[in-house]
């Protein structure tokens, strides 16, 4: 299997502050990998580096090529992204929004072709958002909107997909739906997935492997079974994981 993503000694300073200090890991084609870590560990920054947004040191390759050596449209045909925050002040319809995923395939003067309409239709079907197509984004609930954002990334038809906390701020039902959708995209569409996830349980449940970041470094890479142990977790979050059995009930004090 080839590496879809390969990161070696990735380092980045923003305004003189080091954010990433040497991150190394790789993701093979078709894998589903989650990034976990405390706030400020550099998780989102890492995803942005893979989108070629920062002049990083070290190397970050997508599909075997350094991501910053692609031109912007060519990179967008390799990797798509679903960001964490959504704030759009303007009334965009779901269909128009998902069609924006086709931008890397369209030139300034050519209108959308049939294959673009087909890709949008497919993305709407997979994410179950086809019935919202003529509604505006603002009229959707948080969970529905997140699925539309995923549909737009799917319409980009990229081998690699990046997600920044795809299920945070959603209720339990929508969390489950969104995480199931990611797994479906991973298995049925064959997309390689790298997702930042704040929820340890969900990361452990859904991913093939987990990468733990701390202070801009890779602290741990391995399977969920290897990570979900007191020792690595205590090192990662710097807090003791108290178990119920070690506590003395009030009646016995």
């Amino acid at each position: 299997m080839n590496n879809a993503i390969q990161i070696e000694n990735l380092a980045l300073e923003l305004n003189g502050t080091p954010i990433l200090r040497g991150v190394s890991f790789s993701v093979t084609e078709g894998e589903y990998v989650s990034i976990i870590g405390p706030n400020g560990a550099g998780k989102t920054t890492l995803l942005r580096c893979l989108l070629g947004m920062y002049p990083h040191k070290g190397s970050a390759k997508i599909g075997g090529t350094e991501c910053r050596s692609y031109d912007s449209r060519a990179l967008a045909r390799q990797v798509s992204y679903v960001p964490q925050t959504h704030d759009i002040e303007f009334p965009l319809t779901v269909y128009d929004f998902v069609m924006m995923g086709r931008y890397p395939y369209l030139s300034a003067l050519s209108p959308a072709q049939k294959r673009d309409d087909d890709a949008v239709e497919r993305a709407l079907q997979i994410t179950g958002t086809a019935q919202f197509r003529s509604r505006t984004l603002r009229t959707l609930s948080g969970g529905e909107r997140q699925k539309v954002y995923i549909a737009a990334a799917l319409a980009q038809e990229t081998p690699v997909m990046l997600f920044d906390e795809p299920a945070t701020f959603l209720d339990w039902r929508h969390q489950t739906e969104v995480m199931t959708l990611l797994k479906k995209i991973n298995v049925e569409c064959g997309a390689t997935i790298l997702a930042v996830n704040h929820d340890l349980n969900s990361a452990a449940h859904w991913s093939d492997r987990i990468i733990a970041l701390k202070d801009g470094r890779t602290l741990f890479t391995g399977t969920p079974q290897e990570l979900i142990q007191p020792a690595p977790l205590e090192e990662l979050f710097e807090t003791a994981f108290v178990r119920k059995e070690t506590l003395t009930p009030a009646s016995e004090q």
Binding site: R48, L51, G52, M53, D71, S72, R73, A74, L75, A76, R77, V79, S80, Y81, P83, D87, I88, E89, F90, P91, L92, T93, D96, F97, M100, G101, Y103, P104, L106, A108, L109, Q156
Partner: protein, 315 residues
């Protein structure tokens, strides 16, 4: 959608044909009618039409760039910057180099460009371009530039001062085709650049991060849009004075009927923006006839309440 564009095109053509006929002199029967029509009325209507296009298109571009429906040449202080540039040119530059309109519009362009970059920088320091930061930055910049313009007036002789004040009210009292032709050149360049970037403007509405992830070259796109909008605002302000609120009202009204897709919104804003300012100027000429009000007065009277309504409706 086709019907809407047919109506808009007819409206634009109708204003261009009808409004040259309107005024205190009946151009069809007066012996001087032909002269008045060719030297005054038609150039005036054309100037208003072009300035309407330039200001409305700039407003639409700024709204996409700042991802904020309240971003306009006026609220961002860009018109103020363009006015300051043009006033400095009128006071100091004009006698030195090629006098006349082109110099003032180039000075207006630089005033506009410097201002928009300044406000963009200010709004960016506080993350996310919130309406509050943006509007406050715009207010501060506007006040600062107004005092500099006052200083320029103070330093000028009474004749110059009067001309500046009259120009600052905004109007289209032109003679002959020199002004509309110059304005057309600047506006066309700005429009061509923006017309190639309508899809990019759509993507900018979703945020720079996401636009970049979809393959938009964000830095280059922003530079070209800043250039285009500054060129059009600068020229319109230099030729006609800072006509307030057109850049706010026209894109907003068009968005209500056409939607936010810039590939459709942009042509609608061009057609409606031109027609809108011709009508405002027509009202300015006829409401208190034979006294002619500056068109900027009409747009400000309409725009102030409109802006407040927009602000309150958003909450």
């Amino acid at each position: 959608m086709k019907t809407k564009f047919t109506i808009l095109t007819l409206l634009a053509l109708a204003t261009l044909l009808v409004f040259p006929m309107i005024g205190s002199t009946d151009v069809l029967h007066d012996p001087m009618g032909r002269e008045i029509l060719m030297k005054l009325r038609i150039p005036r209507v054309l100037t208003a039409f072009l300035a309407g296009i330039a200001l409305s298109a700039s407003g639409m571009i700024f709204q996409a760039l700042f991802r904020n429906p309240l971003a306009t040449p006026d609220t961002l202080g860009v018109s103020g910057g363009a006015a300051l540039g043009a006033v400095i040119w009128m006071r100091f530059g004009a006698p030195l180099l090629f006098a006349g309109v082109a110099g003032a519009s180039i000075a207006g362009f630089f005033g506009a460009l410097v201002t928009v970059l300044l406000v963009y920088g200010l709004a960016r320091v506080k993350s996310g371009f919130s309406s509050t930061t943006l509007l406050l930055a715009g207010v501060a910049v506007n006040l600062f530039f107004s005092s500099l313009i006052l200083l320029m007036q103070y330093l000028s002789d009474p004749g110059e001062t009067f001309r500046m004040i009259r120009w600052l009210m905004g109007g289209f009292s032109v003679v002959g085709f020199t002004t509309p032709i110059h304005l057309a050149v600047f506006t066309t360049i700005g429009l061509i650049i923006a017309s190639l970037l309508t899809r990019e403007m759509n993507l900018l509405l979703t945020g720079e991060e996401l636009a970049g992830a979809r393959g938009v070259n964000v830095d280059r796109t922003k530079k070209m849009l800043f250039f285009s909008a500054s060129l059009m605002t600068g020229a319109a302000v230099a030729f006609c004075g800072p006509i307030a609120f057109v850049g706010l009202m026209v894109p907003h009204i068009c968005r209500q009927f056409i939607g936010s897709d810039h590939r459709k919104l942009f042509p609608a804003v061009i057609l409606f923006g031109g027609a809108f300012l011709v009508v405002c100027d027509g009202l300015a000429r006829t409401l208190l006839a034979p006294v002619e009000m500056p068109a900027g007065l009409i747009t400000a009277l309409l725009g102030g309440p409109f802006f407040l309504w927009l602000l309150l409706r958003k909450v």
